[in-house]
């Protein structure tokens, strides 16, 4: 993966968000993730490089893409006929597409460019207690880029937050990111190592170790660290997993937790990238399900 310091692949800047930390925030989605969770709701953020997506319902069938493609990878004249084997990801088709049906997902962005976007909303941060949230994918993949962005934010007095899956090198995190971070949202998916390997494609030993290092019990510098548990039906929302997490987090001294209801709308995005939606789910959780999940965390202050 390309993780040099000056450029990162940014999927999107989402501004004015109220869902990713305190106040109004600019959320930077970085592309690339060391995990491969079956239910990943941002499937377009898994690979670190730019990708080509096709959203069929937006296609006006004008043929501009086929005319622009130097490889002949659109033999049928529209995005529906995209031959990913022939595609070299030059994105000329996406440039030509008038409707955005063919779309480049992710583009290289320098720290300076990212700061320009962030600077726009500084007055809103100030008045709402908001700031910048780095998420993805996994932002710690771009350690140096994220590090210098966080430093620049700190210089401007902008509140900073990183959302992480926890699979990072702890020393580098402590040295390069932690000094400029105000808050960390830490994903807690599956406690069981075997289950984690099966569903997320990687071992969770390092993740659990990192969580411990950041926990109140570790005696580390006090910092706002919020464990967040995605409630994936039949996978992470089982009583066994939740009971385990409740005990584990309490043992580490955490008093707060966020439970994230599952959002099934990601499958459309996976299809647009030419991937199969590997994980089919029943849909949105019911109120009863949520209540059952929440009951395990009665001893915590829940953050919505």
């Amino acid at each position: 993966m390309n993780v040099t310091g000056d450029i990162a692949t940014v999927l999107e800047f989402k501004r004015g968000s109220c869902d990713d930390g305190p106040g109004l925030r600019t959320v930077v989605f970085l592309k690339g993730c060391p995990l491969a969770c079956a239910w990943c709701h941002n499937p377009e953020s898994r690979q670190a490089g730019p990708e080509l997506a096709f959203f069929g319902e937006e296609c006006v069938e004008c043929g501009a893409c086929a005319a622009a493609c130097p490889e002949g990878a659109l033999p049928g004249g529209t995005g529906a006929s995209l031959d990913r084997g022939r595609c070299t990801l030059c994105f000329k088709c996406a440039d030509a597409c008038p409707s955005g049906a063919l779309r480049q997902m992710g583009r290289p962005v320098t720290v300076g460019e990212a700061m320009e976007v962030i600077e726009r909303d500084v007055p809103f941060f100030r008045n709402s207690g908001g700031g910048v949230t780095l998420t993805g994918g996994e932002p710690t993949l771009y350690l140096e880029w994220v590090s210098s962005l966080l430093q620049r934010c700190r210089e401007r007095g902008i509140h900073t937050l990183v959302e992480t899956c926890g699979a990072f090198a702890s020393e580098a995190f402590e040295q390069r990111l932690a000094p400029w971070l105000d808050a960390v949202f830490f994903d807690c998916k599956l406690l069981d190592g075997e289950a984690h390997r099966r569903w997320c494609g990687a071992d969770n030993a390092r993740i659990l170790d990192n969580l411990r290092r950041l926990s109140p019990s570790s005696g580390a510098a006090p910092r706002h660290v919020l464990p967040r548990i995605p409630l994936v039906p039949g996978v992470t929302d089982t009583d066994e997993n939740l009971r385990g997490w409740a005990g584990h987090l309490a043992g580490l001294g955490f008093r707060h937790v966020a439970l994230l209801p599952y959002n099934p709308t990601w499958s459309r995005k996976a299809e647009a990238l030419g991937r199969k939606a590997e994980f089919a789910s029943a849909g949105f959780a019911t109120a009863a399900d949520l209540a059952r999940c929440r009951a395990w965390f009665a001893g915590f202050e829940r953050v919505t």
């Binding site: 501004r15 409707s99 909303d121």
Partner: protein
């Protein structure tokens, strides 16, 4: 002469049937015999190409049909083609008016006479019209059912939304420590109180939401009765009337004879009409617009009114015939030969001039009334009269007229005192008896003497308010800075009550001001069905303004500000239209947070103004600071310097997009199919080598429209001075005593004329698209673009997609689009400011739209901005929903528009939905962050709609459950369920942001 067409024969047959039924039916014939004798008028019917021509002449209880259209026809209906004409034959009278809007039909000649003709059509075809209406209602119900099923909409809560929110967040309501100039309230949010503590207010509120309005003829009857007895043009001895004196006597007559009613259990006496909720009729302006609907107005789909047979008869036989030619609109037609400006106005697609209805958008000097009483005012007027030159008859006449109307006002109060005493005598409940005796005492004192208590002050203002509405149309007359003006009296009550009585005095103030707000709902403006389309769901728009700074520049947020905010929150009314001034650096954040909380709870009100920016907007007028600081919103949002300024701020709704369409078509307006503007060149023919050349063509077309509009407006203004000068309003506006002129003749100290310029965003986005695609990138030729517009982009879907996704919009953060917006706003401002009205004052430029962004949008074709044919423009100057996914972009860009180009204010709508599961305080803080930042960045005005599209869709499917769902349109509030479908959909489709 060629053979008459089939349609021609059909029309003549219909007119022949009309003629026959007059002959055969005594009942029908009787309707032609008015108080003034047999109705005598000619109506012509034709098509544009003259393939159909016919006319009918009604006289002496007979009717003759002839094949031609005579030159002296009183009114002529001109159809676009024979098909439109045939459609009219099977349409209800409301639908005929809608054909007028869609340019399938245009008219020449007297509109009142046209409405009279419509009345006779509905008289003959009532059975058929009723059947048509039933069939349509059934079809509509079937569609609604399908929608409900398709969207699986179920009625959610049994509680109504506002009440539901009320209940949900009641326990979470914010409280605050005293702030600003608050002296008495321990918790300015008054969070301990709720509507449940005020059963009287809850009961009145229920009446407001459930009682059907009734068309009330009381004022029209009294006015007509006086004029029949004393003459209109000349008096009993044949001398021409001095208009001011005539109007003064008319008003005194009305106030001496209108019913002196006190609503059962009310604390404020007096009512605008003789009905619980009455629609007021002003036959001297637009009253006759309802003539054609007299038989059907109770059955129309949107906002029906009840009407009694007695009212119907009175209006048809007596009132309307008297005023058919004696109204402002027809006076201009007669005196100026139906000028081009009038003909344009009557096509509805390019501008709408409110002077045909009212001149009311202003604010009277209520503090003067409270301070001096009518007696003190009369002394001043008398002194001015004595000082006036004996030879200056005009001055002396005006002052005499003012004296007469003040007498009338005193008489009305005295009669109400009588009513209160009589009712007290028979009251069984001792508490109510006490209240009535108190009312009687108060009415014996005010408005004649200065007010001393809050109840006296509110009574004096309310009685003057009733009287002002007996003089001037209830359309935008505004209440001004009630918190500033009432505060001394509230303070006096609190001082008198002492610390032990404080709680009770505060409750009393909430109840009294609540009664006042609900009194203001006792009347509605007359809206013909065509108005449901043009001005959907609007009431009178009686603006109240809170907060800001005092005339000497101190913090003006006081105890009364917070009492009125509490009332606003508890009642959730569309009208009074509450506007709040926030002066950064002087007013507290606690106050701004409270404004956001009330907006959240009511979903739509108050609107928030950046005090400093509004004052900056008015820099060019060099108003003295102490007068400038006394500004208040009028009608929707427009600034008036209270009590000194006659700005008729809501005078004109101007469609900027019409000029763009004319520039795209060499001066021809496509929907009207009328080459009315100057030839500026055909874009498809290469007339514009550079982008700037096209922009110049747009400016030339707009210049042409503004010239016509101002000419016509001034004619109407002079007609007002002849037909309906306003001695009472003039007595309550500073400057008239020195100048000795009525406000309709420029008597006020400050004069302007307000314009609302509609479609700025659509024009800017269109110009940006043309510049980028045609000139800069050369992606498309002007000819191809023009063709795409003609086909509503059907021929060029890829071009449409390109415009939507690749051309930066105003409000996206794009600097060039923002610069274009600023340039266009400036151009429009300068164009208007270069015209002077008949009161020798400039026109001001506002960028709000009332509801006309929907109406004008319906009447406009596809635009280069990507907006499709017939779709609404954006409300006010709100960026398009396509501009940005991020709410902060539009907020930042609108804030960067130069206020100095926006002298008649703006309306910036932001639709936000609190995040599900979020708390009340959190939601308030999110609104606060947005409002505060917008103001810091220099934004002028903003209004939140805190309601999601889901709720709006549900309200469309289940209107009965959402009667009180309040929404902000553009500047004014309306109940969502009273809006026409186009407006409802516009609100649903507005960009929605999570907050």
């Amino acid at each position: 002469m060629h053979r008459p067409s089939g349609t021609s024969l059909l029309v003549r047959a219909l007119l022949g049937a009309m003629s026959l039924s007059i002959r055969l039916s005594p009942r029908v014939r009787a309707h032609f015999l008015g108080v003034d004798g047999w109705m005598d008028f000619r109506v012509g019917i034709r098509t544009v190409d003259d393939s159909v021509r016919a006319s009918i002449h009604f006289h002496d209880g007979r009717a003759n049909v002839s094949p031609g259209v005579p030159d002296d026809a009183d009114t002529v209906l001109c159809f676009r083609d024979a098909a439109c004409l045939r459609r009219m034959l099977s349409a209800t009278p409301e639908e005929v008016m809608n054909m007028l809007l869609r340019s399938e039909l245009s008219t020449r000649g007297n509109l009142a006479t046209l409405n009279k003709f419509n009345f006779f059509l509905s008289l003959l075809l009532k059975g058929r019209h009723d059947a048509l209406r039933r069939r349509r209602a059934k079809a509509r119900r079937a569609v609604d059912d399908r929608v409900r099923q398709a969207e699986k909409l179920r009625p959610a809560a049994v509680l109504q939304p506002r009440t539901a929110h009320d209940a949900r967040s009641a326990s979470e309501r914010l409280s605050a420590a005293p702030c600003d100039a608050v002296r008495f309230l321990d918790d300015p949010c008054l969070s301990a109180w709720s509507l449940a503590d005020f059963p009287r207010l809850a009961a009145f509120r229920e009446i407001h939401f459930t009682r059907r309005p009734v068309l009330c003829a009381e004022r029209a009857r009294l006015v007509t009765e006086w004029c029949r007895g004393n003459g209109f043009e000349t008096d009993g001895e044949g001398r021409p009337w001095v208009p001011e004196l005539r109007q003064a006597q008319i008003l005194r007559h009305v106030l001496e004879h209108k019913a002196a009613r006190i609503r059962p259990n009310d604390l404020l006496p007096g009512t605008t009409t003789a009905e619980e909720i009455g629609v007021v009729l002003y036959p001297d302006t637009h009253g006759t617009t309802i003539w054609g609907e007299l038989l059907s107005v109770a059955e129309r789909e949107l906002n029906p009114y009840d009407i009694s047979d007695e009212t119907r008869r009175l209006l048809h036989f007596d009132v309307f015939p008297y005023w058919e030619k004696r109204n402002v609109r027809e006076d201009v037609r007669r005196n100026h030969g139906e000028p081009l400006g009038q003909r344009l106005d009557e096509r509805f697609a390019v501008y709408f001039i409110w002077k045909t209805v009212a001149i009311s958008h202003t604010i009277a000097d209520f503090p003067r009334l409270l301070r001096l009483g009518t007696r003190g005012m009369a002394d001043e007027i008398r002194a001015a009269r004595d000082a006036a030159d004996q030879a200056d008859g005009d001055r002396r006449d005006l002052f005499e007229a003012m004296g007469i109307v003040l007498e009338g006002l005193e008489t009305y109060a005295a009669r109400l005192a009588g009513t209160a005493s009589r009712e007290a005598e028979v009251a069984t409940d001792p508490v109510r008896r006490g209240e009535l005796l108190r009312i009687a005492e108060i009415c014996e004192r005010v408005p004649r003497e200065p007010a001393r208590t809050l109840q006296e002050a509110l009574t004096a203002i309310w009685l003057a308010w009733v009287a002002l509405h007996m003089e001037n149309t209830n359309a935008g007359l505004s209440l001004g800075r009630l918190d500033q003006w009432l505060h001394p009296y509230f303070e006096a009550d609190l001082e008198a009550a002492g610390p032990e009585g404080r709680r009770e005095a505060i409750a009393r103030a909430i109840e009294l001001t609540g009664c006042f707000f609900l009194r203001c709902t006792d009347h509605l403006p007359l809206v013909p069905d065509i108005g449901n389309f043009l001005f959907g769901g609007s009431s009178s728009d009686q603006a109240v303004t809170l907060g800001g700074v005092t005339p000497d520049g101190r913090d003006g947020v006081n105890d009364m500000t917070f009492v009125l905010l509490k009332v606003t929150e508890m009642l959730g009314l569309r009208d009074p239209n509450v506007n709040a001034r926030y002066h950064q650096g002087i007013n507290s954040e606690t106050y701004l947070r409270r404004l956001c909380e009330v907006n959240l709870v009511t979903t739509a009100t108050p609107s928030i103004h950046n005090d400093a920016a509004v004052m900056q907007a008015l820099t060019e007028f060099s108003y003295p600071p102490e007068h400038l600081r006394d500004w208040a919103a009028t009608g929707c949002v427009e600034p008036t310097l209270c009590g000194r300024h006659f700005g008729h701020t809501g005078n004109i709704m101007l469609n900027l997009v019409a000029a763009l369409e004319m520039a795209l078509n060499d001066g021809r307006h496509p929907l009207m199919d009328w080459k009315v503007g100057p030839s500026t060149g055909d874009p498809a023919g290469g007339a514009f080598p550079r982008f700037e050349d096209f922009e110049a063509a747009f400016q030339a077309q707009l210049g042409f429209l503004v010239d016509r509009m101002c000419e016509y407006n001034d004619m109407l203004g002079r007609a007002h001075a002849r037909i309906r000068p306003t001695p009472l309003l003039s007595a309550l506006i500073d400057g008239t005593l020195e100048k000795g002129r009525d406000v309709t003749r420029g008597g006020a100290r400050y004069n302007t004329t307000g314009v609302a310029c509609i479609g700025l965003t659509d024009v800017v986005d269109s110009l940006t698209a043309i510049r980028q695609l045609v000139y800069r990138d050369k992606r498309v030729t002007f000819a191809a673009l023009a063709e795409a517009l003609r086909t509503d982009f059907a021929s060029e879907p890829a071009l449409h997609a390109l415009i939507c996704t690749r051309v930066p919009k105003f409000g996206s953060g794009d600097e060039e689009a923002l610069a274009t917006a600023n340039r266009m706003a400036r151009f429009t401002h300068d164009l208007l400011a270069s015209h002077r009205n008949h009161r020798d004052a400039p026109y001001t430029a506002g960028f709000w739209s009332m509801s006309n962004h929907v109406a004008f949008g319906c009447l406009s074709g596809a635009l280069p901005s990507g907006r499709r044919k017939g779709k609404p423009f954006t409300p006010g100057l709100t960026p398009s929903a396509m501009a940005s996914k991020h709410l902060l972009d539009p907020i930042r860009d609108v804030a960067r528009l130069d206020p100095r180009s926006m002298t008649n204010n703006i309306a910036f709508n932001v639709k936000v939905v609190p995040r599900p599961g979020g708390g009340h305080a959190e939601a308030v803080d999110e609104l606060l962050a947005l409002a505060k930042t917008y103001i810091e960045l220099g934004g002028m005005q903003m209004q939140f709609n805190v309601v999601g599209s889901d709720t709006l869709r549900e309200a469309m499917a289940y209107p009965d459950r959402h009667r009180d769902l309040l929404v902000r349109i553009s500047g004014y509030n309306a109940y969502f369920v009273t809006l026409n479908r186009d407006l409802q959909l516009e609100l649903v489709e507005r960009a929605e942001y999570r907050a």
